[in-house]
């Protein structure tokens, strides 16, 4: 019987390397677009170890892609609670909040992701930058009528 707080992963003696390798198999399926298999693995990993930030983050990302926002938010927030320095959950929460038209929450999450990657190296944080730039462009488009000063880029190009 499982002791209090003991996970099934610990009960089965699954090492960190083995757990990550299972996650990598899920990531491979995710990148190949086989979302059903990826989801099966990520859901299993969350059950194996509910304290794994990586498992919650991965399942949250997949649910973000599938636009199952309510379920995704729960896993992404859990991932942040377990590992606040992980970039991916902030990026995906940003995307969900844009979809839900909650710009303030979206920008706060995207900002956090960008701050965690000052050198512009992380693909997730760069996705956050692209979203911020997208918001910027929409604001600009809305303001074109009142905008008297042309962009330097427009002058150059």
């Amino acid at each position: 019987m499982l002791a209090e707080q003991q996970t099934i992963r610990e009960e089965l003696g699954i090492s960190s390397a083995e757990f990550t390798e299972m996650g990598n198999v899920g990531a491979m399926y995710y990148q190949q677009g086989n979302l059903e298999k990826a989801r099966t693995i990520f859901e299993g990993l969350v059950e194996l170890d509910p304290q794994s930030a990586d498992a919650h983050s991965a399942l949250g990302a997949l649910l973000t892609l599938q636009q199952q926002d309510e379920a995704a938010i729960g896993h992404l927030q859990k991932a942040i609670e377990l590992k606040p320095e992980q970039i991916a959950p902030y990026v995906n929460l940003g995307e969900i909040f844009i979809r839900r038209q909650k710009l303030e929450e979206a920008v706060a999450n995207l900002k956090k992701a960008i701050e965690l990657d000052p050198d512009e190296q992380d693909p997730g944080a760069n996705r956050a930058r692209a979203m911020v730039l997208g918001i910027y462009q929409v604001i600009q488009a809305d303001n074109k009528a009142t905008d008297e000063i042309g962009l330097e880029s427009e002058k150059i190009n």
């Binding site: 990550t20 303030e104 920008v107 997730g124």
Partner: protein, 178 residues
């Protein structure tokens, strides 16, 4: 490049969008060179480039729905954009990033193999039977069911990899002999 402080005074007679435009101009005056360079390279739908073209209308609706801290949002957006350094778009994830999994490709000896997975199946079956005999609730049984399914997919993937490796070995052996 460090962005100098941006001085902006709120004008309550203007709509927030007009104020945002004024704020943007204040940002531009400080950073126009770099900002122009970045924007010049992304004209044509930055959201499309990361597979998010469909959410652009939501951005607009979200902006229209902003009633509270619009200035804070505008400051954050313009402040972030003015600090962008280079061509990050080429290095942006095209779908929601996973986090820790899939970041590093498996190198060296694999931690998992079919024998190990078989052992894990046996361990999980043991747990299942123990819980069953104790009359444990549906949640735990549901959890074990999901883990079984995950192990099955991992096992299938390992078998496929093994099949590919065997084929490569056979091909290499055949080439070596000919």
């Amino acid at each position: 490049m460090t962005t100098p402080p941006i001085i902006y005074t709120e004008n309550k007679n203007l709509s927030w969008l007009a104020q945002a435009a004024n704020f943007e101009k204040a940002v531009r005056r400080k950073t126009k060179f770099m900002l122009g360079k970045i924007l010049g390279s992304v004209v044509g739908g930055v959201l499309d480039k990361i597979g998010l073209g469909k959410i652009a209308p939501f951005v607009k609706l979200g902006l229209n729905a902003l009633t509270g801290n619009w200035l804070g949002v505008a400051q954050d957006v313009f402040g972030m954009v003015s600090n962008f350094k280079g061509n990050f778009l080429g290095k942006a994830a095209k779908q929601p990033p996973l986090g820790g999994f899939g970041q590093s490709l498996m190198q060296g000896k694999s931690a998992l193999n079919e024998n190990r997975i078989s052992g894990l199946f046996k361990g999980l079956s043991g747990l299942f039977n123990a819980f069953k005999s104790l009359g444990s609730g549906g949640n735990l049984m549901g959890s074990i069911g999901k883990i079984f399914s995950a192990f099955n997919v991992v096992k299938e993937s390992l078998q496929n990899n093994q099949m590919v490796n065997n084929r490569i070995s056979v091909a290499q052996f055949t080439n070596a002999r000919s």
